[in-house]
Each structure stands twice: as C-alpha cells, then as structure tokens.
C-alpha cells in the first residue's frame, strides 16, 4: 500500500515537473498580458445562465447593480491581497506549495476533488450548449427544477455534444485554445448585442427615457419565479465574490500570478470581473426577460441575435468546456497508471457527458458554484495560515516537507472538519464560506501550534 502510494505520488510529481521550479525573473509577464488573460477567461457559457437566474430569483435592479459592483470589487481585492502576494513571494503553483505544506497525500486528494468538480462544471457547459443545439433539432430543454433528463432526445443531444467536445479536446487542446482566443471577443459582443436588441421587445424607448423603469418593472422586478428563492443585495454580493472562490481565496490562481511582476497585478482581474461577471450577467438578465423568463440559454440567444446567438452559446460552451476537460484530465492523470493523455481525456469526457445528461447541474448552477468554491476554500485558508500567520506566531513552516509526511493529518482534518461545519450551518449556502474560512484559518493555526507544544 505504502509502495503504491509512493508510486502515485512520484507519478503525480512527474506530471507537474515542468512547473516545479519557481518562475525565473525573465519569464515574468506584463500587466497587459494579465488584463487580456482575465478579460478573455470570464465570458463563458455559464454567464448566459447566471445572469438569467438572478432575474428568476427576483432580485431588484438596485440590489443587482450594487451587489455586482461591490461583490466583484471584493473578488478583485481577494485576488490582489490574498492570492497575488503569496504567488509573487513563492513563484510556485498551488500544487507544489500545497505539497510542501500538506504533503503529497493531501495534494492527491485535492487533485481528485478538483477533477470531479471540473467534470461537473464542464458538464454544465455541455448542457448549456445543448440548449442551443436543441433548437436546431426541436428538442425541448428540461424545465426549471428538473433533476433527471426529460427525454431521450436530450440525452442523445448531450452524448453527441459530449463526444464532439471530448474528441476535439483529445485531438488538439493547443489548437482549440488558439481558436478560443478568436471566439472570446465575439462571444462578449453576443451578450452586448443580444441585450441591446432585446430592449425594444421590453418596451425601452429609443431615447432610453424609460430604461430604468423597464429595468425595475420588467427585468429585475423583485418577483421570484415559482420555486426559486428570493435573492437580495447580499446574495448577489456574495455570489459575485465567491464565483471564483477556488481561484482567489482558494489560491489556485497562484499558477497564474507566479508570473506577475508585482502583487498589485491582482487588480488586473477587474478586466475579467466587470465585463464578464457584471456586464455579461446584466445582459443575460435582459435577454431572459425578453423571452418571458424561460431558462433556455439557446432560445435567449436565438431570439436576441439569431443563429449567430445560437453559435455564441454553443461556442461559449465548447471553448470553456475544453480547458476544463483538459484540467480534469490532468488532475486525474495522477491516479491512472501510465495511461496516455487521450485515454484520460476520454475518461474525463465520458464522466462529464454522463453528468451533463442530468439538467440539475445547470439548472442549479448557482448552488453548484457555491459548493465548488466551498469545497476547495479550506485549502486556501490552510496555505494562507502557513504562509503568513505561522512566521508571526513562530510556528514551524512546511513540516510536511521537512519531515517527509505523506499526509499532514492536521490539514486534512481541518479541511474535512471545516466542510462538515459549513454544511451544518443554519444560513444560506452562499454565506457559509466566509465563516468557514475563519474556522479553517483559526483551527489550522491552533492545531499546528498545539502540536508544537506537545
């Protein structure tokens, strides 16, 4: 067993070998590169669903705009003050830094959890794309609140798309990444064009004189759809903040910011947040209101921007599912003995396709995004404590690395314990991660400090 684990750990290390060393000074990137990267990364297929769900959850226009403004600001500040400073000091990916802190065993568990979560996310993107392709074949989209597939046609559609996405991910991840660069500015325009073209259907006058009135009475009118919770300012603020929780507070974007010249480059994430997680969400809200509040991203885009809109939804799903499948494959590669890349991507694609058949993942996307961030958040707290708090309290850092532990059991217990406490909290799912972060930070520090004394 010990030998088997050592073998897995060694294989995992080989996979990430290329980024084992801290980034050299001559490889650092300019701020413009970061701005471009974030601007292109945060306009995905899921944006069509998220903004529309805010409308269905009965948020008011004022709460939406203020919530997105401040929530995205908190997200940018989280990247700037939590993630980027650790990245520029260590110049390491989370994989290698977590390995020093928590040992290869915990890192392996993190990888597997991440792979599974990536597959669900890619599955949701396939489902969103299927709503677009379904229009072509006249296949009904599952209704709001559905958990299981509604028809054989839907399942077949998902299988066709899943097979196509997986095959293309196997054939050429690099080429598709380049194609995604071509798509991203245009996809962003599909949101803008769709929303502008939907305004006349909602009765907005050409002089925009009644824009606010239409926004508050016909779009974000404060009335939740049947079966949907009512959202307010705090729900929106927290959602915008935790939407990329695994990346900023969870520190997985150490992989990007290790190339930053200064920690202040975290501020460049605003180029992704405000166009993608504010403007695009507002636009999809306008589009869903124009089709009578039906959760059907394909129909929203078709009504607003014709077949180009349908292509926009399809391509947004494809270009974002592709790197997600790739990352899932990379994470899974650690537990698949000597499998070639194509076989692992095929496995990840098959799992993703099966998950995508269940519409619950895209129809409960907001909850899933919350759970995704929540599950990985304690790891960020553990790394933050080890990096900043331990030196202040004179607690020995990197004990797992120094003593050759496969598992830092304290880290694992804090991770699982924090999640158990979070899931039992009697507050809305969206708000649980924040006290959870505090619990993980304090409990890991206290437990590691008490270990020193014993």
């Amino acid at each position: 067993m010990a030998l088997r684990f050592a073998d897995i750990a060694a294989r995992m290390d080989r996979l990430y070998e290329f980024d084992r060393e801290p980034v050299a000074a001559d490889k650092l990137q300019s701020g413009g590169k970061f701005a471009g990267l974030f601007a292109g990364e945060h306009v995905a297929a899921t944006e069509f669903v998220i903004g529309a769900f805010f409308v269905l959850h009965g948020v008011t226009a004022r709460d939406l705009l203020l919530g997105l403004l401040f929530g995205n600001l908190l997200a940018v500040l989280s990247w700037t003050f939590l993630c980027a400073p650790i990245a520029v000091r260590t110049r390491l990916t989370l994989y290698w830094y977590l390995r020093r802190i928590a040992g290869p065993g915990v890192t392996l568990i993190y990888n597997i959890a991440n792979a599974f979560l990536y597959c669900i996310l890619a599955g949701a993107m396939i489902s969103v794309s299927a709503t677009a392709l379904g229009l072509v074949f006249g296949i009904d989209v599952p209704k709001l609140g559905s958990v299981l597939p509604n028809s054989v046609g839907w399942v077949l559609l998902i299988f066709v798309l899943g097979a196509a996405f997986t095959t293309m991910a196997i054939l050429g991840f690099e080429k598709l990444s380049r194609f995604a660069q071509v798509c991203s500015p245009w996809i962003f325009l599909v949101f803008i064009a769709g929303a502008v073209a939907a305004l006349p259907k909602l009765g907005v006058q050409t002089n925009l004189g009644n824009l606010w009135e239409v926004a508050t009475t016909k779009i974000w009118n404060g009335v939740a759809a049947a079966g949907q919770d009512k959202f307010g300012f705090w729900h929106i603020l927290f959602f915008a903040w935790f939407c990329n929780l695994a990346m900023h507070v969870g520190l997985s974007d150490l992989a990007l910011f290790r190339y930053a010249r200064r920690w202040t480059y975290g501020l460049y994430t605003a180029f992704g947040m405000y166009p993608g997680h504010m403007l695009a969400w507002v636009c999809s809200g306008v589009m869903v209101a124009a089709i009578g509040r039906e959760m059907h991203p394909g129909m929203m885009a078709f009504e607003a921007a014709s077949w180009a809109g349908v292509a926009g939804v399809l391509l947004a799903g494809w270009t974002t599912a592709n790197p997600t499948l790739y990352r899932a494959g990379l994470a899974l590669q650690t537990v698949t003995p000597n499998w070639p890349r194509w076989k692992i991507t095929l496995g990840a694609g098959a799992m993703t396709t099966i998950l995508a058949c269940f519409p619950v993942f895209f129809l409960k996307l907001l909850d899933y995004v919350a759970i995704y961030g929540l599950i990985l958040m304690p790891v960020g707290a553990i790394v933050f404590a080890e990096h900043w708090i331990f030196p202040l309290l004179k607690i020995e850092q990197y004990q797992a690395e120094k003593r050759g532990w496969a598992f830092n059991w304290t880290a694992l217990i804090v991770w699982i314990g924090t999640l158990a406490v979070c899931f039992a909290m009697p507050i809305h799912l969206f708000f649980r991660w924040l006290p959870g972060y505090g619990i993980a930070l304090v409990s890991y520090t206290v437990l590691m400090a008490s270990r020193r004394r014993t």
Binding site: A197, P200, T206, A308
Partner: protein
Amino acid sequence: MIKRLFWLGALLSLGICLAVPVLYFAGTMNEGGYKLAFNLASAGWFVFASLWLMKRR
C-alpha cells in the same frame, strides 16, 4: 500588408457586430436586417480573425 488587411477586416466585422444592434434599437434598421447583418459580420469576424491569427504565427 495582407496581415494588416485581415486585421482590419476582423476589426470591421467586430465593429459591425456592435453597431447593428444599436441601429436596430434606434429604429434605423428592421429586425430582419439586424439579424442578417449580425450573422454576416459574425462570419466575417471568424474568417478574418482566423486568417490574421494564422498569418501572425
């Protein structure tokens, strides 16, 4: 030279994609015209941007 033309074509297509919904909203274009122009400009963007990217590499 040809690279610059592709770049200009891509930029123009993107500009049309942005302009036509505004014209439709302003009432100077009908819905059918807007959708046709948006579809064509979108196709133009993919053609020119891909060619520009290929030339750049």
